[in-house]
Amino acid sequence: MLSTNPFYELSTFISPTVMQGYIILMVLLVIVGTILDMMHKKSAQYFFENAKRAQKDAKRTLSGGEKASLAVQTVVNEVLTSSEFKRTRRRISHLFTMYGFVIFVASTAVLIFGYATEPAAGIWPVLWHLGALMLCFGGYWFWFFIRVDVAAEGVKWYNFNGRGDIFIVGLITMPTFALLWSATMGSGTLNMLFFALFILCSTVLFGSVYWSKFAHMFFKPAAAYQKKCIMADGSREGLPNDYDLTDPAVHARFPDVPEYMGKNPPNMGPGINAEPPAHY
């Protein structure tokens, strides 16, 4: 069952062209939604003004090669391994959600554009189900335990807490109904119902880009890259430097540090950060 192409049965009463048109429509909705969101939030303007301000305070200019290397680092760390998250369980949940979403969407596109009228499609149906399962796992885990309203502000998991929930609700319901649809192949009305809900949820997810958090997947890497640049060029947004506490130059400049901590202070361990921020 995991290796049967779910879109094959669908192709008997919905033509592949319609399915492909739907995918293209969703892509367009994301692009339009992101552009409208960027215009509304003035993100591009903010980004470039920030860059100009950093340039004024910069202690050195970055070469093209350095910038490229920082971009690669951003992709490898912040994008591929979600390294921005300091709390482990949030990071793991995000990785499942992110990769699950990418695999699910990619395999949907491949199945619809490449294998719409074929029952067997190699590894792609397996990937499709795998992506949906990963997305469900990460999404439900996030919804019940990790959502910051639940974790840090005492909101119950069954309370919706505003427009910010559209994205995660869409991300959870879409693969849930997709899996239910695939599992009930051949059951007639129930199967149709799940398919209809699947399409409804996915349309809401991709259509609500302007109102939801969807576009963060484009903004966050840009912000992470920009942060790396300002750290590298010395402006650091006015933040103090990171000091090496064993460096004699630091000892000379700040004599209280070696006086009270010694010349080679140990790792002090987590103090306030030892507990997760859940003291509501």
Binding site: E84, G164, G238, F254, M261, M268, G269
Partner: protein, 162 residues
């Protein structure tokens, strides 16, 4: 406007929400990022600024005391045990770096677990000493001060005390 959050740097982790003594840092329902819900009530204690793992929070001092154009940024590193400040004056003439220790020993390791130490004797309970006295008063064998030991007498008008 006291503390404010750079939304591009915030990832909605909730550390600032947790630590604020005035309970005025909360998560915005739409963007899922932190923000200061009541700038009037902000003491500018910098607890949220220090707690943020991404240094996404900054503080603009009240204008009667710190006119616009200055920059005060801080990075508190618990694992290193230091706190670093960078203060820029608005006339552009001064850019101060400060670094100070915040602890001399790893957090929590040198605090005794008092339920595991030997129990207080009846004599200790009857005395006027705290748990680590008299040794910790002078770090020697001297005893705790009493009126008698210091040669003092309470004069009339004050509550009786021996």
């Amino acid at each position: 406007m006291p503390t404010f959050v750079y939304m591009t740097r915030c990832d909605g982790c909730g550390q600032c929400v947790d630590i604020c003594p005035s309970d005025i840092m909360h998560i915005d329902k739409v963007t899922r990022r932190a923000y200061n819900i009541e700038p009037n009530m902000c003491w500018e204690c910098y607890s949220c600024v220090k707690a943020c793992p991404h240094q996404a929070i900054d503080c603009r001092g009240y204008a009667d005391f710190a006119p616009l154009g200055h920059s005060v940024r801080v990075k508190r590193d618990e694992e290193k045990g230091v706190i670093a400040w960078r203060i820029k004056f608005r006339n552009g003439k001064k850019d101060m770096d400060l670094l100070a220790p915040i602890t001399t020993k790893p957090w929590g390791t040198c605090i005794p677990q008092l339920s595991d130490v030997p129990a207080p004797t009846q004599q200790q309970r009857d005395s006027q000493l705290l748990f680590n006295e008299p040794k910790y008063i002078r770090m020697d064998d001297g005893d705790i001060h009493t009126l008698k030991s210091n040669g003092l007498k309470l004069i009339e008008g004050v509550e009786g005390y021996s």
